[in-house]
Amino acid sequence: MNAAQHDPDYNFGYLDEQTKRMIRRALLKAVAIPGYQVPFGSREMPLARGWGTGGIQITAALIGPEDRLKVIDQGADDTTNAVSIRRFFARVSGVATTEETSEASIIQTRHRIPEKPLDAGQILVYQVPQPEPLRRLEPSEVETRKMHAWAEYGAMHVRLYEDIARFGHVATTYSYPVMVNDRYVMSPTPIPKFDNPKMDDMPALQLFGAGREKRIYAIPPYTKVKSLDFEDHPFTIQSWTEPCALCAATDSYLDEVITDDRGGRMFVCSDSSYCEDRRAKGHVGKELATAEALAYVDSVEGASHDA
């Protein structure tokens, strides 16, 4: 899927070399102190802050001609944000892109971790809207930095307490706070808590960039990541009563898809690459035919039009 040639009007990877060095220095510091938020001089990018500029800047600072880039948004390779960012990098760096998780050397993501386990040597880059897990409890940046510096994390559990008091269980389903390396409480970005256990002891390097908030943080490979919980209310992940309607997977994160205006719906894998992979291997969900009829997925007979 090598889409485009490097547009010579742009420096390789869009950012100038000095900016890349600045970001790499911040990245090195972030890797050295797992979970610690490193400030960096976030640049203007050709899209609005809050649309993934933090992740794009990290990818731009890391990417080399030999890399193979995968971009996902909510798990899917074919959503607007993912397509735009992939096309952007194809143009400004000319590197190869892929939708296959295991082929990618850099995976930039918004809101998901791929279902297929990542390997050592791969890099997962997250786009972060709000890097500060304590922000909703403490508006002052001066104060939150002190709380991180001295590991004063009692207030973090107040959020979980409130959930249990109100709903009987921890109702936080995304951006679920984690403790990294037994030291820093970190916001894992708006990934569903379903993905939290995947961060623990992951062989791949995880980098987090918040463009608007100007922060970078990281989890080095094989680092302990623990989701916060109470002794009598242990951490649990979401579960579904039915398998994926397209590929019959029972171990993946499912999105609800509305199929008509009469209440019809189905649950499908949010990781589109994982789902396709399973269908190619012959797994058939019970509503695959309906989805093909709606052109929600390409039919197996080999129609090649874009969805």
């Binding site: 001295w150 009692g154 107040v158 249990i164 008091a165 109100r166 109470f230 009598d232």
Partner: protein, 266 residues
């Protein structure tokens, strides 16, 4: 329970000692050369008109503001430590565990968008408690002790009346069982009947738990009811000091005489 008139000194070492505490705001004097000691179980009142430096002194004593001069010693694990010579994280830890501050305005001491139970439980979670059931039952216990009914545990302070907010704040301060409590006008802004009940409650709690307390007030009735000893401040200086009843019944300094004679006969 002991007789407040005779200071029984079971514990010979003071829990808090102020030595020549001075706080200047630029050219202006906040408080000047204040020295005193406070023993465990004792309640000290600071009275004076507004602007006399009461709250300034309290903020220094509680470790919120660094005094310009002088020293504040706090007894921690049988050792007198100087409050502003220890690292900030240690001081913040002491502030959360060893002493508590009851603010005049409950909004300053509570999280207004967190339920009553969460507000009381936060101090326990700070301490490292990670068992929801236990946190909730001690929150319930404390709400009962400050006379807030159990079915209000999941309501937010916003939905409480002013008097209830103040009682909730007191529960939040007392739940980690501090040894020392600072109160800045704890009854300010409450009507007389609510004040009376709150004072009753405070008196019972302080006596029962044997907590040492420093209470700042401009209300001499509050001082007479709650405190063992009294310090009268004016213009940043302490002008008179002694046992509460002595100071109020036989004031020596002209300003104290003025202050006591200004009390309306009820």
């Amino acid at each position: 329970m002991r007789d407040p008139l005779t200071p029984t000194i079971a514990d010979p070492d003071p829990i808090l000692t102020a030595q020549n505490v001075t706080k200047h705001y630029g050219e202006r004097i906040g408080c000047e050369n204040v020295s005193f000691s406070l023993w465990p179980g004792e309640v000290l009142g600071i009275v004076g008109e507004s602007g006399s430096g009461k709250s300034t002194l309290l903020r220094c004593l509680a470790g919120i503001d660094r005094p310009t001069g002088g020293e504040i010693l706090f007894r921690h694990e049988e050792e007198m430590i100087s409050l502003f010579n220890i690292p900030e994280p240690t001081r913040r830890k002491l502030m959360r565990t060893e002493w508590g501050i009851v603010h005049q305005n409950p909004r300053d001491g509570l999280r207004m968008d967190v339920s009553a139970g969460g507000n009381v439980g936060e101090r326990l979670m700070d301490r490292g408690d990670r068992h929801y059931g236990k946190i909730r039952s001690s929150a319930l216990d404390w709400l009962t002790r400050v006379e807030i009914s159990e079915d209000r545990i999941d309501d937010r302070p916003r939905q409480f009346s002013g008097g209830m907010q103040q009682r909730l704040q007191i529960a939040r301060v007392l739940v980690p069982e501090p040894r020392l409590v600072f109160m800045d006008e704890p009854t300010g802004g409450l009507d007389v009947s609510v004040q009376a009940r709150l004072l009753d409650l405070l008196r019972v709690l302080v006596r029962d738990l044997g907590i040492a307390a420093v209470i700042v007030t401009h209300d001499l009735a509050v001082a007479r009811l709650l405190t063992d000893r009294l310090m009268v401040m004016k213009g940043g200086y302490v002008v008179e000091e002694g046992l509460t009843d002595q100071v109020l019944d036989d004031p020596h300094h002209a300003y104290t005489q003025l202050l006591t004679s200004a009390v309306l006969a009820a």
